[in-house]
């Protein structure tokens, strides 16, 4: 029973990191109908930049802010320079393009930062809290991880639902033609959407690095699990993405705890297949036509 609690907390904490990636993927999917396979690699890159900042003696939080800001810029530039030309083309173009960005970033990172596996600092302790000698099975860093992703979600929700900017972004994503007629700079909205998504990815990178360590391909599997979560959630729904990602986190944690750590990815795959066989558009996708 005690182990079950440990695995559950682990699953939720990792699941929240996947959720940040899943949310980023969903944002970009809703805006441009593209899956950004380079999301994880971008996060790896910004995390390295944070590490450099911190290594030069700056406090963790400055590194944190720099990583998120760099994410915003990388995302926006990628959209404007690389993605814009393929947005109107058959979907496979964008798939290959983002794979190209993934491969390029994972090759440039070791050139700039070295290919070595490095540990990454935490802002608060990652030792489980003790109350009167009994472990609560959750560390301050796990609480920070869960809290940070929840706050990011809340902020995004507020931006999209409560501000004019959010309304414009939604309009640009939902119907670019009409949005254009209404005088919305659709291109700019899409660029901003990519930037915000990459910012979210950068957050995931910062939260994942202390446990997966930092090396050029450290986000590959995090991306796959985040993507799995997003698909389970239905790709259209931010809430679905978070729910799906936490579900994947729990599945991985239970499988690795009770069955064998090496089988964990199979657990994620299994729930994906079960969900997709029952609902080919994921759990939280309602009434939309199948995308070809």
């Amino acid at each position: 029973m005690h182990l079950f609690l440990i695995y559950t907390v682990d699953g939720i904490t990792n699941g929240m990191v996947y959720a940040a990636v899943a949310l980023a993927l969903v944002m970009i999917w809703r805006a441009t109908r593209i899956i950004n396979y380079a999301q994880g690699a971008m996060a790896m890159f910004t995390t390295y930049i944070a590490l450099i900042v911190i290594r030069h003696g700056a406090p963790y939080w400055l590194g944190f802010v720099v990583a998120l800001a760099t994410g915003l810029v990388i995302g926006a530039v990628t959209e404007r320079v690389l993605v814009r030309p393929v947005e109107s083309r058959p979907p496979l173009n964008a798939v290959i393009l983002s794979l190209g960005v993934l491969i390029l970033l994972e090759a440039i990172a070791p050139m700039l930062f070295g290919g070595q596996t490095q540990s990454f600092p935490v802002p608060v302790s990652n030792t489980d809290l003790l109350v009167g000698g009994t472990s609560l099975d959750i560390s301050p860093f796990a609480l920070f991880t869960i809290g940070a992703v929840l706050i990011a979600m809340l902020l995004l929700f507020l931006v999209f639902q409560r501000t004019t900017l959010g309304l414009r972004m939604r309009a640009a994503a939902f119907n670019p033609e009409i949005a254009r007629i209404l005088g919305i700079r659709v291109g700019r909205m899409l660029t901003l959407g990519w930037g915000l998504a990459a910012l979210l990815g950068a957050l995931a990178g910062m939260l994942a690095a202390p446990s997966v360590y930092l090396y050029p391909s450290n986000m590959d599997e995090v991306l796959v699990f985040g993507f799995t979560g997003a698909i389970i959630g239905g790709l259209e729904s931010p809430v679905g993405a978070v729910a799906g990602a936490v579900g994947v986190g729990l599945a991985l944690s239970y499988v690795s705890g009770y069955v064998g750590s090496d089988l964990a990815p199979l657990g994620g795959f299994a729930i994906l297949i079960v969900v997709l066989m029952l609902r080919p558009q994921g759990l939280f996708s309602f009434g939309r036509q199948r995308q070809v």
Binding site: H2, L3, I6, Y7, D10, N14, L51, I54, R55, G57, P110, G115, Q116, T117, Q118, S119, F120, P121, N126, T127, D128, L130, S135, S139, S211, V212, Y213, Y215, P216, S217, N218, D220, E221, L252, S253, S256, G257, G260, S261, D262, A264, P265
Partner: protein
């Protein structure tokens, strides 16, 4: 048609051979100091010996291990700067296999087919090198001093070209096990191993359980395993939590440094204060500290994270700067590889390079692949950097046969615990205290003839 094909090929080969001979003659005449040197084998010219290796320069085993080949190369540069071996410079080509057995296979083919290496040297890793050991042996490529303690390298009938170097994991496991039986008799012992079905983990497990056989120790017989991949890193926490739940108090760990570090950090995160007993290959304190503190983060190593860890060594202690081997290797490092840190990996790489130079010298003026294998088998070298002599003979391809127990303090310093002990890898082989004297390096730092 077919005979024609083979005849023309023979012709082509003969023509190529002729050209090579001309080229060699030209080279030979241009180096007056070694006129009697010939291109006696693949990878050997009158002036150069090319050897190859596969190393985890990146990937999950890279922390620490990526320094080994550069350190060995620094020693070769030192030897080359002092005239080389019989007038030949050693050209060491090491390729990155990322600790991925499939890329070990393709990189080794490249070394043998394209670079035409004379021999493989210090190819690193158990699962990785197992993927090419048959290939190397069937092509009669000497496979010297594999950087792994798998018992499998000592198999003279199947792998006559392959030699181990460090004490194998079963020998090491037996001596670790004996220490546990003597010092932690009342505690519950569990295992954290690379595996399942990885000989690194299973050989060590065998050694420790052999030594615990017949002792009334409480052993958790189902080891916790890790996979040396990214997904594997994320799952270590669950594995350690499992050991904690079983009430394990002593964790015997046969793991690469990154995974030792993750295991120790995970235990600390769970407020789980188990005694770690770690195989030499996964315990180098500077490497672990580097991983755990993020290299140059400038933070102090969290107290108690690696302090108290028990391990073993078969080379002189890193921190005894009065030891002549340590002095020699540190001075070579300062000149030829100043960017490397001084740690166990560097000492390992240089020590193994020293052994290779011993072998190359013993293989004669114009070495052949057969002559270097014969030279190692009949070596009886008295002086080597190891704490014990080499075991090499025509029926034994093990290197060193024993270790000395050590403990790590909170700042990463090592202290020996008791004498050097030797044994074999059989279940019943006795563990004996080694009574020989410690060797010293030759004054030149280069093995004498």
């Amino acid at each position: 048609m077919r005979p024609e094909i083979s005849r023309s090929r023979t012709l082509a080969v003969a023509a190529a051979g002729g050209a090579a001979a001309l080229l060699t003659a030209a080279c030979g005449s241009s180096t007056p100091t070694s006129t009697s040197n010939t291109a006696s084998a693949p990878g050997i010219t009158a002036t150069q010996v090319t050897i190859g290796s596969t190393q985890p320069l990146t990937g999950p085993a890279a922390p620490g291990y990526s320094e080994i080949a550069p350190a060995a190369n620094a020693y070769f540069k030192y030897v080359n700067a002092h005239g080389g071996v019989n007038g030949r410079k050693i050209n060491y080509t090491y390729l990155d296999d990322q600790y991925n057995p499939t890329s070990t296979a393709t990189q080794t083919h490249k070394l043998v087919l394209q670079d035409q290496v004379f021999a493989m040297f210090q190819a690193l890793g158990t699962p990785t090198h197992l993927s090419v050991v048959s290939y190397l042996n069937s092509n009669h490529v000497p496979d010297l001093f594999v950087a792994s303690g798998c018992n499998c390298w000592n198999n003279t009938s199947q792998y006559p070209e392959t030699f181990g170097w460090q004490p194998n994991y079963t020998i090491e496991g037996k001596i670790l096990g004996q220490y546990i039986a003597q010092n932690f008799a009342s505690k519950k012992v569990g295992f954290f191993l690379q595996g399942p079905n990885d000989e690194f983990g299973t050989d060590g497990f065998t050694g420790v359980t052999d030594a615990l056989q017949g002792k009334s120790l409480n052993v958790d017989a189902t080891p916790a395993y890790y996979t040396p991949t990214a997904a594997g890193a994320m799952a270590v926490g669950a594995a350690i939590a499992g050991l904690q739940a079983q009430g394990v108090q002593v964790i015997v760990s046969f793991s690469v440094p990154l995974f030792t570090a993750i295991a120790e950090a995970s235990a600390a995160g769970l407020n789980y204060h188990a005694q770690f007993v770690v195989s030499n290959v996964g315990s180098d304190p500077p490497t672990l500290a580097g991983i755990l503190t993020g290299g140059a983060l400038g933070k102090k190593l969290p107290a108690g994270l690696i302090g108290g860890t028990i391990s073993d060594t078969y080379l002189p202690l890193l921190t005894t700067s009065a030891n002549p081997w340590v002095t020699l290797f540190k001075s070579i490092e300062a000149t030829y590889a100043p960017s490397l840190p001084w740690d166990g990996n560097v000492e390992y790489g240089m020590s193994e390079a020293f052994t290779f130079v011993q072998a190359l010298k013993a293989a004669g003026q114009n070495p052949t692949r057969a002559s270097i294998v014969a030279a190692v088998e009949s070596s009886h070298w008295a002086d080597g950097p190891g704490l014990t002599p080499y075991a090499y003979s025509s029926s034994d391809h093990n290197g060193f046969t024993g270790v000395q127990m050590v403990t790590v303090d909170a700042t990463g310093n090592l202290t020996t615990l008791g004498p050097v002990e030797t044994t074999d890898d059989t279940a019943s082989g006795a563990i004996n205290t080694f009574s020989g004297a410690a060797s010293t390096p030759p004054a030149s730092g280069i093995p004498s003839d």
